[in-house]
Subunit: 350 residues, 2 copies
Amino acid sequence: MSEIASVSIRPFDLPLKEPFEISLGTQHEASNLLVTLETESGVTGYGEGSPIPPVTGETQAAAIETARATADLIEGREVGNYRELVDELRSAFPGMASALFAVETAILDAYCRERELPLSELFGGTPGRVETDLTIPILESEVAADRAVCAAEAGYEQLKIKTGGDVTTDVERVAAVADVAPDAALKVDANQGWSPKETARFAEELRTRGIDLDLIEQPVPASDIAGLAATRDIVDVPIAADESVFTPQDAIRVVREEAADIINAKLGKSGPLAVADIAAIAESSHLDLMIGCMLESAVGIHTSAHIVAGIGAFSHVDLDGNRLLAEDVIDASGPIHRISGPGHGVIPIE
Amino acid sequence: MSEIASVSIRPFDLPLKEPFEISLGTQHEASNLLVTLETESGVTGYGEGSPIPPVTGETQAAAIETARATADLIEGREVGNYRELVDELRSAFPGMASALFAVETAILDAYCRERELPLSELFGGTPGRVETDLTIPILESEVAADRAVCAAEAGYEQLKIKTGGDVTTDVERVAAVADVAPDAALKVDANQGWSPKETARFAEELRTRGIDLDLIEQPVPASDIAGLAATRDIVDVPIAADESVFTPQDAIRVVREEAADIINAKLGKSGPLAVADIAAIAESSHLDLMIGCMLESAVGIHTSAHIVAGIGAFSHVDLDGNRLLAEDVIDASGPIHRISGPGHGVIPIE
């Protein structure tokens, strides 16, 4: 094991295939950051963060500045003491989720490359194939249906549909997708856009049309834990907490208040070690687990896929960020992520 | 990474320096089991369990039989998928804590030795020195005071005193120890022997004598979570849950019911991966963490010490099991465990 010799951070801008609209706003490109960390023994680790301001708070520039500021704390430190480093980073820069995701990933990646082990094994299992759903953003119903047809042709068996606006329009979009993709498992993500009653009306209208949903994600505002619990009480579809859970402490609150059936953990909100903690809390509380992403390239997405392979407890996998990019750092397509080590196995040389 | 080729189990009887009395009964020797696991690449992993029937339920013979029965499940399986194996073992043999502790340790040890990494790094940090307290069992006050003097001479700065019987006698024993070891940090372990009111009387009598306690461990019966919470309400000393928490699910219940200030996690109750989960739950709920042990040799104790070094969140370390043995598998004494890898670093060749 060796010390961290240097850390460098740069913007990592990745054009999208097309603008990505959700109820919180529209992303025109992935404005990410890339952390490159060198150890004194010459090993390099890579980490990516994907700030989306209405979700993570950080702009790309702010995340880059935060990541740069971590150098003072981690340079000269033993990479094998990765948990202590991550704990200190969380205390030093609370809430800086995207920046710390990138730095933490680079630390863990460098550690695993030094030890020549795949990242997944640090979390409990060997790397394997990880299957993801595909997300359909807020689009006209006909366009959304076209996407669903293309997704089915590409092999996707699970679709996640963005909602959270006008309930009638949202119902039409989901119905249009269900009509052309009758075999697909469907999830819905309202990104905080509804009230509990709107969520109930949405669920009821789909039920009367005979459309089953696997889950409804984050129907109400992130800070409204009571509203999340109330929604869960009045809606028959399982409710997932996403933006309400950034930290393991948030997960404990959801458990205490019985506010969700599922927790959607994301490295982009929590970082790898806290995602493992959230998984432990969810499993111990008999909540289901989902893993999601922001708009990361394969650097971030394969990191998440390693954690899925390692922990093995995720019932719902929504790791399609790199499938929405015009060009990824690796050549891959379709619903299967093929991951390997050491580390997360990706080298983002453009 | 390679497959598990064979597993063998044998009794591992270790005489104690002297009989060890707690409120639940007296142990005359450590009647342990030793698991030896060979992988197809020729690496050997070792694990130990230390059944104490009034705590773990299992006799030595029962634990050995359970451990033998795990062979069918784990032989031929990839050691790198250690989390999946442990999950399956827990489902197949629920409640068989000592047997699964031994088998899980042997799996993790073999995995780490194959990867040539210290066990601690699987949990987050490099191996280091780990300092333990020393336990003073139920003894006459004068004898207990003699032990405290010897402990101070041997360098122990923290003492744990067994109680849980007649409150007046217990108060006298603790006072006798405090009198001769005024600089030692004191913990008390009632091993389920008291009611909430007895605990309050005990704490009050020590307070009037000016004796501070770091914590009172498991004052009331393991299944009485309401009683634990009631004790916490009426007693000013921090209350630790020990026998009330075997699983992460138990830890969630303590959190939900606000039943303790501290969780005492033990590999002998939970196994390494579940101890990490319990640590995540406790930290996320702002509970303090303690780690304890049964009567293990250095095989089990160093496994625990690696987890302390790796996770780094344990405020109270009670890992003195091997210090109570007439002879350990390694040559060591005093409050410091010096641990190293690969794996847990101990080879129990007699």
